[in-house]
């Protein structure tokens, strides 16, 4: 049994088959990249994994759990964290508050204790804070800790979203275009972090990415999606030279 196994996954929006009979599996501890042209259905796969969408058919299995039996709010509890393509941060809250929301799944204080802010809540809050500070150290966000999200530049927000996902202490991290909107240095930095996340934190990473140099640098295996279908899967070099992938990006040679 693989760590994450996706079988015959399909979904359609109206007449468009956004994801059509897609199957793949991911090994624990690997970095797995999903590539494909715009509109190929990559983000839809993530949204299906997050249970935002209901698939027409298929199976999603994450280390023995059937994801389709669960709701969107239960996914994080299994240890699956994600980032969004168009940043979904909590704009009118500080960086620290955003990261602390990432600790929500680890909260076990009852509501009335929280209302009275009892000693056990204080202890739990301090523990959450320590965990969050570890992530802040890891991603070098100390400088922004108390700032509001709404005043921060895009590159920093991107990092904060990654940090918030890490605060869940996930086993599986889904990154939706981690390098979009970043300059070349920031992209390179992102590559190092993905490496560190896999090696030091022992988290399996799935990323959707358009930057092929980043894909080549970090990923063990690559899945190419074209028009909702799997075009090919394999090592980075193999996928990049595959005729279906080439024709999807560059057009057919007649």
């Amino acid at each position: 049994m693989s760590f994450l196994e996706i079988k015959n996954l399909s979904i359609s929006f109206g007449g468009v088959k956004a994801v059509d009979d897609v199957s793949f599996s991911i090994e624990e501890g690997s970095v797995y990249a999903i590539i494909g042209p715009n509109g190929a259905g990559k983000s839809t796969i993530f949204n299906l994994l997050s249970r935002f969408y209901e698939p027409l058919s298929g199976q999603l299995n994450f280390s023995g759990n059937e994801l389709l039996e669960l709701g969107a709010k239960d996914i994080a509890r299994l240890g699956i964290a994600r980032t969004f393509q168009n940043l979904e941060l909590f704009e009118h809250a500080s960086v620290l508050q955003n990261l602390l929301v990432g600790r929500h799944v680890h909260n076990n204080q009852s509501w009335w204790r929280q209302m009275l802010f009892t000693r056990s809540v204080v202890e739990a809050e301090l523990e959450h804070r320590r965990k969050v500070e570890e992530v802040i150290d890891f991603l070098e966000l100390a400088h922004y800790r108390n700032q509001m999200i709404s005043g921060l530049p895009y590159g920093v927000r991107k990092k904060i979203e990654l940090a918030r996902a890490l605060c869940i202490e996930p086993k599986l991290l889904l990154l939706d275009e981690p390098s979009s909107g970043l300059n070349p240095e920031e992209t390179e930095e992102m590559g190092f972090w993905i490496e560190d996340i896999r090696r030091d934190l022992n988290i399996t990473v799935v990323l959707i990415e358009h930057d092929m140099s980043l894909v080549a640098e970090v990923s063990d295996r690559v899945l190419a999606i074209v028009n909702g279908r799997v075009a090919t899967e394999g090592s980075h070099a193999f996928v990049q030279s595959h005729p279906d992938v080439v024709s999807a990006y560059l057009g057919d040679v007649k």
Binding site: I75, L100, V101, H104, Q114, F117, L126, R164
Partner: protein
């Protein structure tokens, strides 16, 4: 200018972050406690009304300001609280029973609205809560065996330990104590995981789900707490009014509450109090000014809504984020004097929030 030297994460959990906070908020409480010694009965009555409105606004802020669910029906919770309190007092119970029952019944009302309302958002939610308020007002009008119907209902004075609270300053202190307690509870919620989850649901429901927050649960929780606090405010409003009719709790009251927290500053506890004070001062000011002006001007009908409207529109035009943000500017002007820059609070473009995934 104050620079905080933090050596412990606990410092960030404290409500009073530094000695300045302790001094000024302590002073504020002392002044409020001492107010009955200085002010005469009329102004204490007006101050009591401000406190009651602050309490109702606090309730509405929980659901609208922090959880992002617009409610146009909070007058309904005031009504439930007011009538429950009056009814239990009329049956001879003390305020120790009547007040918790007012909060409880209002809370149940909140739960009833919240369960369907948690599935709605935006304008649909506003309509649903509005309809709820109309229904509650109507039911109160028809249940004449309990509420006295449209003829109205007299309210007994509060009873504590067999002691009847007749004096206006006694009622003022009673309201003040309950309001401080309610504020502390709201502040506690805000600094704990529940409060953060509420803000998460407000700012991005999608990503809050991806982080394991259950938006339904959080919304229902927010509605329930909000209804309880507003119900308490309603109970005190009954004592302030002395005579209840369902018409008092119409749509205008709901709108007034909503305006109050928007003017004060949505999403801040300070905003509740700024808003309540502004509305209170305006109403009292207008009625005093009407008496002072010659009757040809002061006696004109509809002068209150006019003055009210002008002030509301100008606040919205010049300080759309409410009086609280003006206060932040004044505070930082003093903190950074003489190097304060206007540009540091330049209004930035705010993007409309849309649900991108659905």
């Amino acid at each position: 200018m104050r620079i905080l030297f933090k050596t412990n994460y606990k410092q960030d959990l404290n409500l009073a972050k530094h000695s300045g906070h302790r001094f000024w908020y302590g002073l504020l409480i002392l002044v409020l406690l001492a107010a009955p010694l200085i002010l005469d009965g009329y102004y204490i009555g007006e101050a009591t009304r401000v406190l009651i409105f602050a309490m109702a606004g606090l309730g509405l802020m929980v659901v609208t300001g922090f959880t992002g669910q617009v409610s146009l029906g909070h007058a309904a919770f005031l009504l439930i609280g007011a009538y429950t309190n009056a009814w239990f007092l009329a049956q001879g119970f003390s305020s120790f029973i009547a007040l918790p029952m007012a909060a409880l019944l209002s809370m149940i009302g909140g739960l009833l609205v919240a369960i369907p309302a948690a599935r709605m958002s935006g304008i649909y939610l506003a309509i649903a809560t509005l309809v709820f308020a109309i229904i509650v007002e109507d039911v109160a009008g028809h249940l004449s065996s309990i509420t006295g119907g449209n003829r109205g209902m007299m309210v007994d004075v509060p009873m504590l330990f067999g002691y009847q609270i007749w004096q206006s300053w006694e009622l003022y202190l009673f309201v003040l104590i309950i309001l401080v307690a309610a504020t502390l509870i709201v502040l506690n919620i805000l600094r704990s995981p529940l409060g953060r989850a509420m803000i998460a649901v407000r700012d991005s429901e999608v990503s809050s789900q991806a982080l394991g927050v259950n938006p339904m649960k959080i919304k229902v929780f927010a509605f329930t707490v909000s209804a309880a606090i507003t119900g308490l405010a309603g109970a005190f409003l009954a004592h302030y009014m002395l005579f209840l009719t369902p018409q008092i709790f119409g749509i205008l009251l709901s709108i007034q509450l909503l305006l109050m927290i928007v003017l004060g500053g949505l999403g801040t506890v300070h905003g509740v109090f700024f808003g309540a004070v502004l509305i209170g001062v305006l109403e009292t000011g207008i009625s005093i000014a009407k008496d002072a002006l010659p009757s040809s001007i002061g006696g004109l009908p509809g002068i209150e809504p006019l003055v009210f409207g002008v002030i509301l529109v100008s606040v919205i035009a010049f300080e759309p984020t409410g009086i609280y943000s003006r206060w932040v500017k004044i505070r930082s002007y003093m903190e950074f004097f003489p190097i304060y820059r206007r540009k540091s609070f330049k209004r930035q473009r705010v993007y409309l929030k849309t649900e991108r995934l659905k």
